[in-house]
């Protein structure tokens, strides 16, 4: 064991939500403590961080016990939660949805693009308001497959 081992461990936890590592040898011991806030940052994001602070991407909490599914916008455009202003929203919080079911619309250049549920489950969160602009890849809905 030498300083390089420490270095290696430091590199290992870089960008991870590990806040403590202990590692003995005689009689063996490993202790790893994870951040309770549990925000996962990928190593390459850290590497790519640039001269000014990088806005954290809207991220889904994937460390909770239950796995949630995020439905992201495949287009840059305007989000609508209903087929037309006079109609009811496709879904509300708590709505049961089937995979493939239309749950929203992103309008780009006057084309209405249907946003479909990625999984069966219930709608846990609706992250955008009706008429709000969305970027490519922005999360629109959180679906709880077990809900």
């Amino acid at each position: 064991m030498d300083v390089n081992d420490v270095k290696e461990l430091l590199e290992l936890i870089e960008g991870k939500d590990i806040i403590e590592i202990e590692y003995s040898h005689g009689d063996k011991k490993i202790r790893i403590v994870r951040s309770s806030s549990g925000r996962v940052k990928k190593a390459q994001e850290v590497q790519q961080a640039r001269p000014a602070e990088v806005q954290p991407e809207a991220e889904v909490d994937t460390t909770a016990e239950k796995l949630l599914v995020s439905v992201n916008s495949p287009f840059v455009g305007t989000f609508y939660c209903a087929p037309s202003p006079s109609e009811k929203p496709f879904v509300e919080i708590g709505s049961r949805v089937k995979k493939g079911q239309t749950i929203g619309i992103v309008e780009a250049m006057k084309l209405m693009n249907a946003i479909e549920a990625d999984a069966d489950g219930s709608v846990k969160q609706i992250l955008k308001k009706d008429g709000e602009p969305v970027e490519f890849g922005e999360p629109l809905f959180i679906i709880d497959p077990e809900g």
Binding site: Q44, Q48, A49, P51, E57, V76, M109, V134, G137
Partner: protein, 444 residues
């Protein structure tokens, strides 16, 4: 004038445009792909928006996404930069239809010059010498062989919808024709969406001379003198300078006049570059016109003192040209080296994280780049990572200044072509100006 402009590009040219917008007091919107999340252009712009995934076709070439982004950001104009959608007349039209100003020429002018065969025909008609070659597209092998016999070997086969040095094949022997035509057709179809090819005479010892022009669409067109871009590698420009050592005042006036004639005839609006080949006897031939901002515009900016990008934006914003031909005086000498992330031997793009990035500075050194310490060069886009431009009172001093600046430039972690630039610039042949489009061959 515009209040907010979306910059539909990435890398150094997106930053160049954002800088111009800031200096003009216009808000800027950067677009980016998921691979460019941390790119410098997104940080320098007033606003930014993600338009698609890493591959260009899903982001920087994704016209609907870009227009949608402009709409939701409330941009009143789009600057396309160079490459990507900058010479797509369809994109220019869709912008205008969507009520967004396209900062570039009229779509019909992009279209005319975008088809190199049509452009040749047009230029020939108004009495400017074009490169010897055909005005029709190649029908088949036999047709190509007939043309070859007519104009003599060597020949160059080009894609009608190509340009910018892409899709070029040189033919030295007649029996190469059938095979090369096949390959060229396939490549042209893939790269430009059209298999249309044409043939020109290939000159072994010529210079690439191009004229920067600006037109305001109100009948005013001026020429900002020439750039010599003979130092090319695989038909891609490598080192550019202004003025050319081969062009004296008299010849400059003649080439300027030819470029102005070509563009004034169509009442050209915007910036553009008319490219010529210049032979050893001082004869020049129209090759093609690029209807956009050029990578190498900074050398012209340095010798003329004119901010080409600001002029371009002002003209698109409806201003009349603030310059007249008599204001244009070249002073001193400017050289640009394109710094590419690539292996200088193999030309293979070099990707990875730049560990240390220290650009050169000091007098009359300009760096248009987008890298920084910690930046990751991704494999998705072209390998240009910086343009290094210097100015000096004369060409010899400019060469020495460039060598000094290249010496200072630290880019650790990836390979670049800086060693090759140093080799060329410290060569006696370059110093003497004995250069041609084949010059670089002896250095690699």
């Amino acid at each position: 004038m515009f209040s907010k402009v979306l910059v539909a590009n990435r890398g150094e040219i997106a930053i160049r445009i954002i800088r111009a917008l800031k200096e003009l007091g216009i808000k800027s919107v950067a677009v980016y792909s998921t691979a460019d999340k941390n790119a410098l252009h997104t940080q320098l712009a007033d606003e930014k928006i993600c338009i698609g995934s890493a591959q260009s076709k899903n982001s920087y070439l994704n016209a609907p996404a870009i227009i949608s982004a402009a709409q939701i950001k409330g941009a009143d104009a789009i600057h396309p930069g160079y490459g990507f959608l900058s010479e797509d007349p369809g994109f220019a039209e869709v912008c205008e239809e969507a009520g967004i100003k396209f900062i570039g020429p009229k779509p019909e002018d992009i279209e005319l010059m975008g088809n190199k065969l049509k452009a040749r025909e047009y230029v020939d008609k108004i009495g400017i010498q074009v490169l010897p070659g055909t005005f029709q597209e190649i029908e088949d092998e036999q047709h190509a062989i007939r043309i070859a016999k007519d104009i003599g070997l060597p020949l160059v086969i080009k894609a009608a919808e190509g340009g910018g040095g892409r899709g070029i094949k040189i033919i030295y022997a007649e029996d190469q024709i059938p095979n090369i035509i096949k390959i060229a057709r396939a490549e042209a179809k893939m790269a430009f969406g059209s298999a249309s090819l044409y043939i020109e005479k290939y000159f072994e010892k010529v210079r690439h001379i191009e004229i920067q022009i600006i037109g305001d669409g109100n009948g005013n067109v001026i020429a900002l003198g020439e750039r010599e871009c003979s130092i090319q590698r695989r038909h891609q420009k490598f080192i550019e300078e202004s003025p050319s050592i081969a062009v004296d005042d008299k010849l400059r006036n003649r080439i300027n006049d030819a470029a102005v004639k070509i563009t004034r005839h169509i009442n050209y609006r915007g910036v553009g570059t008319v490219e010529f080949l210049l032979d050893e006897k001082g004869r020049f031939y129209f090759m093609e016109m690029n209807t956009r901002l050029q990578v190498e515009h900074p050398v012209t900016e340095f010798v003329t003192g004119i901010d080409i990008v600001a002029e371009q934006i002002n003209i698109a914003g409806g201003q009349r040209m603030s310059l007249s031909q008599k204001d244009i005086k070249l002073r001193g000498h400017a050289i640009e080296c394109r710094i590419n992330a690539e292996d200088p031997e193999t030309l293979v793009p070099s990707t990875g994280t730049i560990r240390a990035y220290v650009p050169p500075g000091g007098p009359w050194v300009r760096v248009d780049g987008f890298a920084y310490s910690g930046y990751e060069v991704s494999p998705y886009y072209d390998s240009l990572i910086a343009k290094l431009i210097v100015w000096a009172e004369d060409r010899d001093s400019a060469i020495r200044r460039m060598l000094r600046a290249l010496d200072e430039f630290i880019i650790d972690g990836i390979k670049t072509n800086i060693p090759l630039h140093k080799k060329i610039l410290s060569s006696k042949e370059f110093l003497l100006g004995n250069i041609s489009t084949r010059f670089i061959d002896k250095f690699v």
